[in-house]
């Protein structure tokens, strides 16, 4: 038992082995897709509505090999990343500003909540009027989704700053701007990253839904076409492909998070 232990480990939580995790992940995947495949084959699930994992995999392979999907994927990702970037910047800035300036927060608080409750997908036609049928409207839709998730977490994160640490920095004559940069922002970092995991998904939702409503390229367009011709396989293939791409982006975010938050005790 005492053979090969890492430098210092807290007693009760044993780090699960990589292989076990991988095995369980694969097992879970096999279980779900296996059930699905079996269900669709035996007719318990109507393949018309649910397709079949084997068909979906085949379709994805076909798209990738033929190169058909790449331009669409690139368009969607461009839109999603633009929405993500804009949403983060505006959300963090608004969160910092409102958390710091009490009057601003008090005044805009109800308006922000109202906007957050607006079903933005329904407003998509108006966004199309404003931002046109190109990437603009998809990015705008994504931003309206990402913004609020990031905003609320940043706002709360700033308020969670340890008052003693804050006072210490103030006594050391930090200017407002320095407080922001050296105290509030690092302190809110864990909060902001938590919101990024949620909002990367929403950035993509914005792009895909925007394309779904009106576009001539992008994954949303592909899915919309497939849905129009009752091609469930195509719908699933498009969605799953996108999700996998987002997973990769999310892993990159996590790597960044691990680097930026390296100062915290590992639990």
């Amino acid at each position: 038992m005492a053979r090969e232990r890492p430098p210092a480990v807290v007693a009760t939580r044993k780090r699960a082995s990589r292989w076990l995790v991988l095995a369980l992940q694969v097992g879970f995947f096999v279980l779900v897709t296996g059930t699905w495949q079996a269900g669709a084959t035996t007719g318990w699930l109507d393949p018309f509505f649910f397709s079949k994992p084997s068909d979906i995999a085949g379709r994805m392979a076909e798209w990738i090999l033929s190169g058909y999907i790449w331009p669409h994927l690139i368009v969607t990702l461009t839109e999603a990343m633009a929405a993500f970037a804009i949403g983060i910047v505006t959300g963090v800035l608004a969160g910092l500003a409102l958390a710091r300036v009490e009057l601003l927060a008090a005044v805009f608080d109800p308006y922000i909540r109202i906007f957050n409750a607006l079903p933005r997908v329904i407003l998509a036609p108006i966004l199309i009027i404003w931002f046109g049928l190109g990437m603009g409207s998809k990015i705008a839709l994504g931003v309206t989704l990402v913004f609020f998730v990031v905003f609320f977490n940043t706002f709360q994160g700033v308020r969670e700053v340890d008052p003693v640490v804050l006072n210490n920095a103030r006594m050391l004559q930090a200017s407002d701007h320095q407080l922001m940069r050296h105290v509030y922002l690092p302190s809110a970092m864990a909060w902001i990253f938590s919101s990024l995991h949620t909002s990367i998904g929403f950035a993509l939702v914005g792009a895909v839904v925007g394309e779904y409503i009106g576009a001539s390229q992008g994954i949303g367009y592909v899915v919309s076409q497939a849905q129009g011709v009752f091609d469930t396989t195509g719908v699933f293939a498009g969605l799953i492909l996108t999700s996998i791409v987002v997973l990769c982006i999310d892993l990159a975010i996590e790597a960044l998070e691990r680097y930026l938050l390296r100062w915290r005790p590992q639990s």
């Binding site: 005492a2 210092a8 480990v9 807290v10 007693a11 009760t12």
Partner: protein, 279 residues
Amino acid sequence: MAVPAENTPAAPASAPPAIAFEGVTIRFATPSGEIHTVMSEVDLAVEEGTFVALVGPSGCGKSTLLNAAAGLLFPPAGTVRVFGETLTGINPHAAYLFQQDALLPWRTVLDNVCLGLTFRKVPKARAAAEARRWLKRVGLAAFEDRFPHQLSGGMRKRVAIAQAWIVNPRLLLMDEPFGALDVQTRQIMENELLELWQETRKTVLFITHDLEEAIALADRVVVLSTGPARIKGDYAIDLKRPRDVAEIRLDPAFNALYKRIWADLRDEVLKQEEGAHGA
């Protein structure tokens, strides 16, 4: 006391020690990727019912040793035994008074003191009554409905003391419990601790920076050396019991002990200072 006492009277000499470190080595990874060995092959056994004080220079590894005794740290080499059994998780016989603030910020003073009893499923009313008794002992009866952030530093420490003592453990781990208290309050708390220990013959492992305090309270003073920590000295304190912490300091034997241990300790600290300054 309302709480069922877990403790037994002083065990026969053949009984296993209350706590035994056997070749305990602890390392941490430093940010630059090196391995920092905080303590290397430490052996230390504490017989049941004894009061042991740990002294040593700042940063030498005292808290780390206590963490290992509590089962919060899992040493990569060596074993920690508690009443003969190898520790693999949280030490179930110990109460731990942390060096840092460790009160639950979302519970009032009263609820914080009750905590251990609540976890042991003692009925609410009985737990509250017991907690009030303890709050009186630490001089905070008037503050039971405050939240921790509404207390001063010394008051928080006293709440933590009540929180640890109320569960009446067999083994008490205390990390600089009285450092934040003013002299008078400190003497009161020290006497309370001695009384508690005498009554129930707990085993106590006590970290302090105050050598006088260590000698006044303990049966045995262990001096830790600096990086990597080793046991530098181990002194039996054969002063009369029961003691009063204020009076015992006037005992000439006290002074002799003080000088001996101090000489030892001073070496250690100077060595560390040099090391640090030289680095």
